[in-house]
């Protein structure tokens, strides 16, 4: 079952901090379904993916799929 992470209403950088915390609790290949309406989330999530080697996909307005690519 996919992990849901509801960060609606949270301001930057809290959604990214939450993703960074939750990604440790899933295995490589698994994903997190993230909800976030902070204007910086998409930009910072892309930068986060580049810096940490994980993957993200924009699923819709305020909706993202974060996939763990590597083993800790």
């Amino acid at each position: 079952m996919m992990k849901e992470l509801n960060c609606l209403g949270m301001r930057c950088p809290l959604p990214i901090i939450a993703v960074g915390r939750e990604i440790k609790n899933i295995f490589a290949g698994e994903s997190i379904h993230l909800l976030s309406d902070d204007p910086a989330t998409e930009i910072d999530l892309r930068a986060w993916a580049r810096m940490t080697g994980n993957q993200i996909e924009v699923k819709g307005p305020n909706e993202f799929l974060v996939t763990k690519s590597k083993v800790d």
Binding site: C12, P13, I16, G20, P39, I43, D44, A47, M51
Partner: protein, 360 residues
């Protein structure tokens, strides 16, 4: 009260020589240079000397420059004077907010993107080469320090007139071979706040974009003492900047290398070799920019930030966003003339401690 030992903000205090010139000018240049009185004649001589000095040091003709008491308006004068209502304004995604505001108020405008190192995409500029209009062209970015290849971009711009923005680059980037207007801010050479210098190239198709009476190009209401202080600061700056630029670039390299080697998940905007020697923008993953500023302030270091949590409108920096750089946990470090290696080393330690604390 926290004692600030290291000023790494964009602003800096006036040098003793510029302060002295300012004080003298308040005594000698208080009159309106446009009047007939003896005191006005004295002010006129001081004004002419300041304008000649500024023009010479900026590489333009004296008759080409206008002094503005509100630098933020300089972008409007520079661009708006060249742009006709039916024409297109071309600007970049890393331009200043003032330029975005002008674009929003104009009926035809086009934003061109930048790559991940902050360089404007020349092929996007080239698409407008046959258009009638103005290219707003930033010589260097004030947030990241990234310098544009302005000669190459101008070569690709075809018929567009060039409104060059030197407000951050100052004299550290030479004027291009073709320009129509160029705008400078005295703060870029550690001069006083509140002095903008607009150069309008002789023969340029420029007209005053604001309602006006008479034939003056700008309001002429600027403070003469501040203008003189700006001219003195620029002379002083030019006398030492060739050596200081090399030294500050080496310090910036030290700063970038040490921070990125000792703090993981740190994003640096732009490459130093393509940037002004004195500006570095760091973004630290999982760190709140406002808290980081506070921690550094408590350690005695003042820096700027482009993070959303430090912005008035709570929006992330459009410059960092356009480059795809992390926008949170951002600090901008500006090295001024005279900054020492010991100060930079102390700042590096303070950043390391603050980031580690905030991530714990």
């Amino acid at each position: 009260m926290v004692h600030i030992t290291g000023n790494f903000l964009a602003e800096s205090p006036l040098s003793p020589k510029a302060r002295e010139a300012l004080a003298d000018a308040i005594d000698q240049g208080w009159s309106d240079p446009r009047k007939l009185a003896h005191s006005a004649a004295k002010a006129r001589i001081l004004q002419e000397g300041a304008l000649a000095s500024l023009a010479q040091n900026l590489g333009v003709r004296t008759e080409e420059i206008e002094i503005l008491g509100e630098p933020a308006l300089g972008h409007f004068y520079s661009i708006g004077g060249l742009l006709r209502p039916e024409e297109t304004l071309v600007y970049s995604s890393v331009d200043r907010k003032e330029v975005f505001a002008i674009a929003r108020g104009h009926q035809s405008s086009a934003e061109v993107g930048v790559d991940s190192s902050g360089q404007i995409k020349g092929q996007d500029v080239q698409k407008f080469a046959r258009s009638q209009g103005v290219l707003a062209l930033q010589a260097a970015n004030g947030e990241t320090g990234v310098i544009q290849d302005i000669e190459a971009l101008i070569a690709q711009s075809g018929d567009l007139r060039i409104a060059a923005d030197f407000s951050s680059a100052g004299t550290r980037v030479p004027l291009p071979s073709r320009w129509d207007s160029a705008f400078f801010d005295a703060r870029s050479w550690q001069g006083p706040q509140g002095i903008g210098i607009l150069a309008i190239r002789n023969g340029a198709s420029w007209r005053n974009p604001l309602p006006h009476l008479g034939n003056t190009r700008t309001p002429q209401s600027v403070s003469l003492p501040l203008t003189i202080a700006a001219a003195v600061a620029l002379e002083e700056w030019r006398a030492s900047d060739q050596v200081e630029s090399v030294r500050l670039r080496a310090l910036s390299k030290e700063l970038r290398d040490e921070v990125s080697a000792s703090i993981e998940n740190c994003d640096i905007a732009g490459k130093l070799e393509d940037s002004l020697p004195h500006i570095t923008s760091f973004s630290f993953l999982y760190v709140q920019g406002e808290e980081l500023l506070r921690r550094l302030e408590l350690s005695g270091f003042a820096v700027d930030s482009g993070s959303a949590c430090t912005a008035e409108d709570l929006q992330p920096s459009h410059v960092l966003a356009a480059m795809g750089v992390l926008t949170h946990g951002n600090i901008r470090v500006t090295l001024h003339h005279g900054c020492t290696s010991a100060e930079v080393q102390s700042l590096v330690i303070a950043i390391k401690v603050a980031v580690a604390d905030l991530r714990a």
